[in-house]
């Protein structure tokens, strides 16, 4: 089998944060032992509520944050042994908010070519041709080349961000909430673009999103994160058809699909997302879990894989 593009083994990220005035520092385990692998040509969806560590994962994969423990392998090589620039050649990000991810003082041409200049790619003479080409690919008129970000709409800006990510011809594009700042009709334009580009260039995506409908539409495999751990991971179809972890089940019931004949769902989750500085003992989900018993509050469950469907729970739904 092919070596996965990205493989993480028990990756951890711990921040030292202040616990309060005069109380000294405490450890916040933002990512607490995550092992995922992303196959070439696949789309991994990473879902979870805010504060679950999905964006920290993204930053570590991009090497924007150092890893506290574990290791990330890119094409089989540990990333700690390769340079940041080497990573940037293979992995490029698309961020959530196209209003803050583009430098307002640079024109579109300059924004799109920045990765080329930063990585000192040869061929300065035909940069214009390259930019025209990539702008055509993402559906931007070449006449916008000398415009500034503030002259573009949200959708156009996100297209610029996509063009900037693709100009290096990376293997992996890391999309961190690529459409959540966009309007409904623009969201579908960008999603369609991402689908087309994937087919055309054989790209691999890691798609971070809290919108489960988008993840189901785009991803081939889905990992659900809760408080720094992957609590369930499976192929998209299997996960949505047969969610095994109570948290995944709650997430799925809370998706509001447009249906005027249904009321609002009851998630039975309670209001409090636990404070990550002070996670509950045992299974971190037990205070919100309808199935929790004594064991859950004492012992942390270990991941169990059954038919390629990982779940971390003492009372999982059986695999169907």
């Amino acid at each position: 089998m092919d070596e996965p593009i990205i493989r993480t083994v028990d990756v951890r990220k711990t921040y030292r944060v202040s616990a309060g005035t005069f109380k000294g520092k405490r450890s916040l385990h933002a990512v607490n032992g995550v092992s995922i692998s992303v196959k070439r040509g696949s789309v991994l969806g990473l879902v979870g509520e805010s504060g679950c560590g999905k964006s920290t994962m993204a930053k570590m994969i991009l090497r924007l944050e150092d890893i506290t423990g574990g290791e990330i392998y890119m094409n089989g090589k540990p990333v700690s042994s390769v340079s940041r620039k080497h990573i940037a050649r293979n992995i490029q990000p698309i961020f959530q908010d196209p209003y803050s991810s583009l430098n307002p003082r640079k024109n579109i041409y300059s924004i799109i070519t920045l990765p080329l200049r930063a990585l000192k790619v040869d061929g300065a003479s035909d940069r214009h041709k390259q930019v025209d080409e990539i702008m055509g690919v993402v559906g931007l008129a070449p006449r916008l080349k000398y415009n500034y970000p503030n002259q573009l709409s949200g959708g156009q800006r996100q297209r610029v961000a996509v063009a900037r990510a693709l100009i290096m011809h990376p293997d992996l594009v890391l999309c961190d909430e690529p459409t959540s700042a966009l309007d409904v009709s623009v969201q579908s334009q960008i999603l369609n673009l991402l689908i087309d580009l994937r087919k055309e260039f054989g790209l691999t995506y890691i798609l971070i999103s809290h919108n489960l409908a988008v993840v189901q539409h785009m991803a081939s495999r889905v990992a659900v994160m809760y408080l720094g751990r992957i609590v369930e991971e499976a192929d998209t179809q299997a996960l949505f058809r047969n969610p095994r972890h109570p948290y995944t089940q709650a997430l799925l019931t809370s998706v509001l699909t447009p249906n005027p004949h249904l009321g609002l769902p009851e998630t039975h989750l309670g209001i409090t997302y636990p404070n990550p500085i002070d996670p509950p003992p045992g299974c971190t989900f037990h205070p919100r879990c309808p199935k929790a018993d004594q064991r859950c509050s004492r012992e942390a469950p270990q991941p169990v894989v059954e038919k390629d469907h990982l779940v971390e729970c003492f009372h999982p739904e059986p695999v169907s």
Binding site: E49, S50, S153, G154, G155, Q156, D183, V184, S185, V186, Q187, S188, Q189, L191, N192, I195, D196, H210, N211, L212, A213, V214, Q216, H217, M218, T236, Q237, F240, A250, L251, T253, S254, V255, L256, T257, P258, N259, P260, H261, L262, G263, L264, P265, E266, T267, L269, I271, T272, Y273
Partner: protein, 332 residues
């Protein structure tokens, strides 16, 4: 049923350096007691401006005019600012999108909640505090008494939005305007906040205007809705009518744009509306959706579109008949 708010032919104009921005054009709707009416549309469609015009909170230089703008039988166009200030926050409350920015970080939750009622009612601070505790418990906040002493930054996003809702309810309003109340929240919290709003609304028999771009939220909560595009209402009806049987090409387009588990095929291309929302600046003629419409004809640029009523409360704005809209749509 008693009508709480009636809006007829509301216009909002904002002078900009580039020309006059017609943010809201000829918008009419009404809200009955205990009813949820939703204004749906993308950014820039005028849904928030409509709400601000009702509250008389338009940006400076913004001008509103309306044939009828009456709240509980009082004409809001005629009453002066001090009378309006009396209604606002008292009989008519607004819940904003960002609970992070709409609470004052310098004051405690208790302070801000009590201020809402001390401003409008002759009550003692003790009574105001009791009311605050009562409402915090109503919106599902535990240990309400101790929360009063906390500052906004000590609360999570979901809790802050609950505090915003409690603040809106302090004076027992008859109308609540919620502008994207759950957009900044996680999905699991979203469902809870919406059910909370719905149950409080039933309990206190309030009218609710729900402003959102999320069709899922609308379909699950609203009784009636108005789809807005470029400052105009393009389609209106009960939620069932519009979702089961959309007429206007824009409504149909919006519904095709969103991935729906079980309906859209994963990995296949979604429907999309080409182009982008035009800015309604300057002289406007014809249908504002014609440049993005799959069924547009040369007539659409020349003829003024009207809201055509096909049954009481059900209307759409297009030159084509509802049947022709459907045929054109299936062909495109």
């Amino acid at each position: 049923m008693k009508s709480v708010l009636e809006v007829k032919s509301l216009y909002v104009d904002l002078p900009l350096p580039a020309g006059m921005l017609h943010a809201v054009r000829n918008v009419s709707f009404h809200v009955n007691q205990g009813e949820t009416v939703s204004l749906v549309g993308e950014s820039g469609c005028g849904k928030s401006m409509t709400a601000l015009a009702v509250m008389n909170l338009l940006p400076r230089k913004g001008v509103r005019r309306a044939e009828v703008l009456s709240f509980e039988g009082r004409d809001l166009m005629k009453i002066d600012d001090s009378k309006m200030a009396d209604i606002r926050g008292n009989k008519m409350a607004m819940i904003f999108q960002e609970p992070m920015t709409s609470l004052d970080p310098c004051y405690t939750i208790g302070n801000q909640l009590e201020e809402a009622i001390l401003q409008h009612r002759k009550v003692s601070t003790a009574e105001a505090r009791d009311r605050a505790v009562f409402l915090l418990e109503k919106v599902g906040i535990t240990a309400a008494e101790s929360r009063l002493k906390q500052y906004p930054h000590q609360l999570s996003g979901g809790l802050r939005q609950r505090v915003m809702i409690a603040m809106g309810l302090m004076c027992g309003p008859s109308l609540i305007i919620a502008d994207e109340p759950t957009t900044a929240l996680d999905v699991t919290i979203q469902a809870q906040i919406l059910s909370l709003l719905a149950s409080l609304q039933q309990e206190f028999e309030m009218g609710l205007i729900l402003i959102t771009h999320d069709l899922g939220v609308v379909s699950r909560t609203a009784d009636r809705l108005a789809v807005m595009y470029c400052g105009e209402v393009v389609e209106t009806g009960t939620t069932e009518e519009v979702f089961d049987n959309p007429i206007h090409p824009y409504t149909r387009g919006l519904m095709d744009c969103i991935p729906v588990p079980g309906k859209t095929k994963p990995g296949e291309k979604l429907g999309s509306i080409p182009g982008m929302v035009p800015t309604p600046i300057g002289e406007l003629t014809g249908c504002s959706f014609r440049n993005r419409c799959p069924s547009a004809s040369p007539d659409c640029a020349r003829t003024e579109t009207r809201l055509i009523e096909i049954s009481p409360g059900r209307a759409y704005r297009c030159l084509l008949s509802p049947e022709a809209c459907a045929v054109e749509w299936n062909r495109a």
